[in-house]
Symmetry: D2
Subunit: 337 residues, 4 copies
């Protein structure tokens, strides 16, 4: 494969630091060439012991550093648009953590900028597409054996929500994964959304509408329902059942090790997404590195990032209004056809 | 237990004939004393070989026949109201197949008649309350270990629908089971209903809206969603997941025999409700016979029958209007407190 | 079906009392006509409230009591032979709890006595043949879809053993169920047995060889292995996997209700055989009553009872010697062909 | 991590070629420095497109090639001993595919040679120790929550055996995985083995004793039984249930995606070990590369390789004799304490 791919990592927070570790120790074919973070001390600490890495307070300086051939954006969401545009300006391939851009107006600007370039540079971090179970489900739906999908029943549960988590974030942070997964699994855009609000659980922080039950309609007449419950207390569970004309398929029930003790026969439930999706993150980054070194861009596109933003925004509006809310997407540039 | 309970069976169609068999051969403590059906020949055939059974074209004549101490109503739904009132007039205990009375106005008349009597005589045939799995789920919810129920996710799938099955019948015939089960499991009345209509499956008869996705709200703020899909083609599946504040519990996944053949490890799925709920029917009738012989009435009441009718009617209206539709129940007589 | 079948129940211990309840309250078509037990007070208590039941200290007196048309033997094993022969002498149909006769010499005497009669009167209480899961497994093996069975992997676990339970009883009491089940499922006699003795569990009483691992060979070259562990502490588990030439099938994993709480997703494990096999007992007795009233005898035969004794004896010898021990069966009378 | 680790790969057959791909494209931190294979053309083809790789017909020449810092042995088993000793002579760390050395006499020579060196250089390719499920099982057994392990029930099934597969290879090729897994899970040596031979399956090649049922006894009094069935026709299944004093745990039942079609609800069964253990192979090699670059040796040792050979040999003897066969291990050098 020749030389290692020089990567600039923007942002050294939780996800950024994890990606630095992954690029250095898990993924083959890449090396960290530069990092950027306003907190210079943290940036230095994140790459301590690595050779040949330059450290910068400013993202653009990192992009211009020697040896940088690609960019991984793990800075806070509001900084993504500027970083993506800077990478585009330099012709650098990008892996950008989700959300691509938090608001759909900014997301559309990114889409339009890349469309003007006329070639794809950006891959968005919807890592479920790299999860082994989701891939098996996608493959099963695509082979047509179960017929046309009619409904997706989805569950998204977290043990507890972090401080500052808002009712809107159940949709634009948590359900955004299901938004992309549904679009990808069905190969259809989502056209309307309704949010139902059961009486909040006792375990939810005061004022947080948790759980919520979110209904999406698709351009093909399918229905996607999502239970999102971020303070369920009992585990991290991501499930998806696709109900099709000739059968149904369900992923996400953990059955890998059955433990029988007094009174129960069961399996452990992972308590964290890093446990559940560890392999998916690895595959995601590896896939990106490999494609980049071949001069290609595969995986989720900027259009996927934009569509997720747009649908999530409609979802938040539906949450606030209590009404069915349509999703209006911009025209899809030919680049993403 | 002394003498056998003399039962008059009204109606010798599919369900009536099955109940005659059950009373005669499965259930202890009962005997068939009389049957009634406008089709006298069928009625005679249904009790061929049984001693001491009188056969009548007219229900009231059967109720007045010698030895009749109780009534099992298995005639078509529109005949139920008159039969129930006739049984009430004679002070006879009744087991009445669902729907108690198809329209909620007539159902309410039955409730009021029984309330005037001042004592319960009628048990309604919601046999899921006698299913072993439902009972375990009810028991688990009642013991409080999982906390307050927030949502019920229900699935109700049939291989195919019989001729003449209408879009409304998905709700007032199929989902009526979930209506009673949800009321019973949660101990709450249902207050609103919304029906979503995904694009119909290719396997559904022309013009039938199948599947449907039905959402109920409850007086306590819980949410009940039901996928009803009566031409799914792959099996008879009834599932219910109760999502509570401290955990979830799911019934209806068939795991009793795992068969591994080339390429799959799985279980057979029953193709018929008579297979899945055979024990439940037995327990239902046995429980009724036993209680009757003790001079008691237990199990689902006329109020339960009325409430199911009323909610189903609201559901059909929601289906037709596309709108969220509230359920307005009459005041509950003290008898059913 | 005409009049109720008059049954004499011999023995009013744990099983006898349960069968009295079942005949009276669960099973249709039968009534208790007489009971016998050396402990007259207990016998009277067991039938308190039942009409028309005569109570006897002596089994033969009960058999001769008015109205007795059939016998259910639930007395201790050593009393079975005499009771069976007495029933045969009177031409009375019998349902005899297992073990039919504890020693195979006595068991063979029973077989020979019935063979001399020239017609079957006895059914032996191997109730697993009435369990829904075992029946599904038997049916699957019989239809030939999985090809010839090569191995049965069996598990038989109890929470704890009763006082006085000996190492031999793991075989002749516990594994005797697997002996009959294997013979029935495979349609083959067992020809050799080997018993392995892992180091006993800490929870086993001092001196009890628990667990044991028992290997049976069959006349057709199949292998049957049984883990028997009667102080496992965690539940009552009966499992059986049939490994065949074209697939395998496993029963006994309880999956009927999945409960998810913090850290686990699982199901309850029953703690008692009466819970697990309640339906099987009911079906067993009902089937016997029905066949008896039709003048027929179906179900496990005296030959089955004898074969179980003979194999269990060989098993105990194998346990004691540590050697592979062959099973020598008498010639099978034509009656049981 | 500094420079990439230069690896010499010996053997470019099926496994060798797969490891070359893995080192080049999956694993970070390594590069192929040299390859050796008597078939020079195949060797050249295996590294086509890779820079800086020298190709040799002779293993020792590859070990002496520039840039070689470590060795991966994937040549046929009979060549392993010489290659291991050559690596030891040069102080090179080795990852050696199983079997380390096919005969236990040669395996012991390797152990002794490494013991003379006084430091570990060799890791043996028992990749199950890197499988996520096995690691969870090991971790559960080690934490003591389930108490002392009493029995391991193992299943090892292949769809079909390759040409030339012999009855002995069911033990020394297939069951050798269970031998290492049992030793590792229990932390005990195996002391005796018995092999039972059910009548062969119709699908097994003429003359092959398939399936077999293998029983191991351990120094701690535990029992390990293995069903090995290499022409089962229905899938690749590796299962292990550990029965302990306070509970049991089972791995290997595939439940990750439940597919419901007409008449069955089930999951796909993988058809190949490369599918089932893909992650394990990756983790294995990555772990080795990482440890090697840190100057350490972790993972399965030469002693483990020797012990597996010795037990497998006893197993083959037990197969041939039909007798219980003891395993006699050499004294364990202090290096492996």
């Amino acid at each position: 494969m020749g030389d290692l791919l020089g990567v600039a990592v923007l942002g050294v927070g939780h996800m950024g630091a994890d990606h630095i570790r992954r690029l250095d120790r898990v993924v083959s074919g890449a090396r960290i060439a530069a990092v950027a973070d306003p907190d210079l001390a943290s940036a230095k600490e994140a790459v301590a012991g690595l050779d040949g890495v330059s450290v910068h307070p400013d993202p653009e300086a990192a992009l211009d550093a020697p040896g940088v051939q690609a960019v991984l954006i793990a800075s806070p969401g509001p900084a993504h648009e500027e970083a993506l545009l800077a990478a585009f300006a330099r012709g650098l391939p990008v892996l950008c953590e989700k959300p691509m851009v938090p608001d759909s107006v900014g997301a559309l600007r990114v889409v339009e900028a890349e469309a003007r370039l006329g070639r794809r540079l950006a891959q968005i971090g919807f890592m479920r597409r790299y999860d082994a179970e989701y891939r098996r489900l996608k493959s099963l739906l695509d082979d047509g054996r179960l017929g046309r999908p009619l409904m997706l029943h989805c569950t998204h549960r977290n043990v507890s929500s972090p401080p500052g988590f808002t009712s809107a974030m159940l949709i634009n942070s948590s359900v955004s994964h299901e938004i992309d997964a549904a679009r990808w699994l069905l190969g259809q855009e989502l056209t309307a959304v309704t949010v139902l609000r059961p009486r909040p659980a006792a375990g939810a922080p005061e004022g947080l509408l948790d759980p919520q039950f979110v209904l999406f309609e698709t351009e093909g007449g399918a229905l996607v329902d999502v239970e999102v419950f971020v303070n369920c207390g009992f585990g991290y569970q991501v499930r998806c059942e696709a109900v099709c004309e000739a059968g149904s398929a369900r992923i996400g029930d953990e059955h890998s090790m059955l433990v029988t003790t007094r009174g129960t026969a069961g399996e452990e439930v992972p308590q964290d997404y890093l446990v559940r999706f560890a392999d998916a993150y690895d595959r995601e980054v590896q896939s990106w590195v490999d494609a980049t070194r071949r001069g290609q861009v595969t995986g989720p596109s900027a259009w996927d990032g934009y569509a997720a933003s747009a649908v999530a925004e409609a979802g938040v509006r539906a949450l606030e209004s209590g009404d069915r809310t349509t999703v209006d997407l911009a025209r899809r540039p030919d680049l993403y056809a």
